[in-house]
């Protein structure tokens, strides 16, 4: 295992990106940081800037305008290696917005997604389980 990856898995910093969600997923993500769920015990914390982050956490229904920004962030700004986590039904299949004129494609057609956490919104337990699974998977492969 490379030193970079080891450091990444020890304490992954998460950048939380909303592509036009209803804020329910965002509230559940913030719940993960509260003392009740306390995601910092896995070393995870929210980063203020994408340039400090190891994990890109995307919520929301991927509309035409925000996906330009998401692509820009993923391709040019985030330091690699970076893993992408899609949280909520909207970012995976667009949920109820699947026929919307403004949401042509799901997130994984724009950028590669590593973990999908389903739910509308997913429970904090589900989010934690998803990210822990991701860490185990990355540890196993390398």
């Amino acid at each position: 295992m490379s030193v970079t990856l080891k450091a990444l898995l020890k304490s992954p910093w998460v950048f939380h990106l909303s592509t036009g969600s209803c804020n329910n997923c965002d509230i559940e993500i913030l719940d993960c940081l509260t003392p009740r769920f306390d995601i910092e015990r896995f070393g995870m914390k929210l980063a203020g800037s994408i340039r400090h982050a190891d994990v890109l956490l995307v919520t929301g229904s991927c509309n035409r305008k925000s996906m330009v920004r998401v692509k820009n962030i993923y391709e040019e700004q985030v330091p690699k290696p970076c893993v992408v986590v899609a949280v909520g039904e909207c970012s995976m299949s667009r949920g109820m917005f699947v026929h919307s004129y403004n949401c042509p494609m799901p997130l994984d057609k724009y950028i590669p997604v590593d973990v999908y956490i389903p739910g509308c919104p997913p429970k904090p337990e589900a989010i934690i389980a998803g990210v822990v699974k991701l860490i185990t998977k990355l540890k196993g492969t390398l």
């Binding site: 509309n63 035409r64 305008k65 330009v68 299949s93 699947v98 026929h99 004129y101 403004n102 042509p104 494609m105 799901p106 057609k109």
Partner: protein, 157 residues
Amino acid sequence: MTRDAVLQDLKGKFREDILDFSDKSPKRVYIEIKPEVLVPAATYIFKDLGARFHIASGLDARTHLEILYHFSIETMNLLISLRVKLDKKNPKVDSLANVIKGANWIEREIHELLGIDFPGHPDLHRLLLAREWPEGVYPLRADYKEWDKKAIRDRGV
């Protein structure tokens, strides 16, 4: 002024131009007027009656396009909705943006989503839609057809 005085005043001032007057409830009045007199009527309600302009809402009905301009007079707890019905072939109504500043953006939004033209608007360019969106395609029209060949409309399962 009381509620009745205000409504009598409006009826008297725009007698020929009011096509339909429906007094729905103590709080709510719908007034359908001719599109030509929208600007004087709205100016009168906004400036002289001291109403607040909330929002305008556009609608694609079966036979026509229509816009509802919602005004409220708080002192008498009254919502006045001015309704204009527009022709589907050439939807056009004078802009309110020069009288009411708050009407500027909602007219731009109605213009791009429903394709209604607002002559006299100071700056009628795109507000919300993406840059690659084609001209002349209006997503909230009932006859809107998918134009994007790359769009995926199944859930991939």
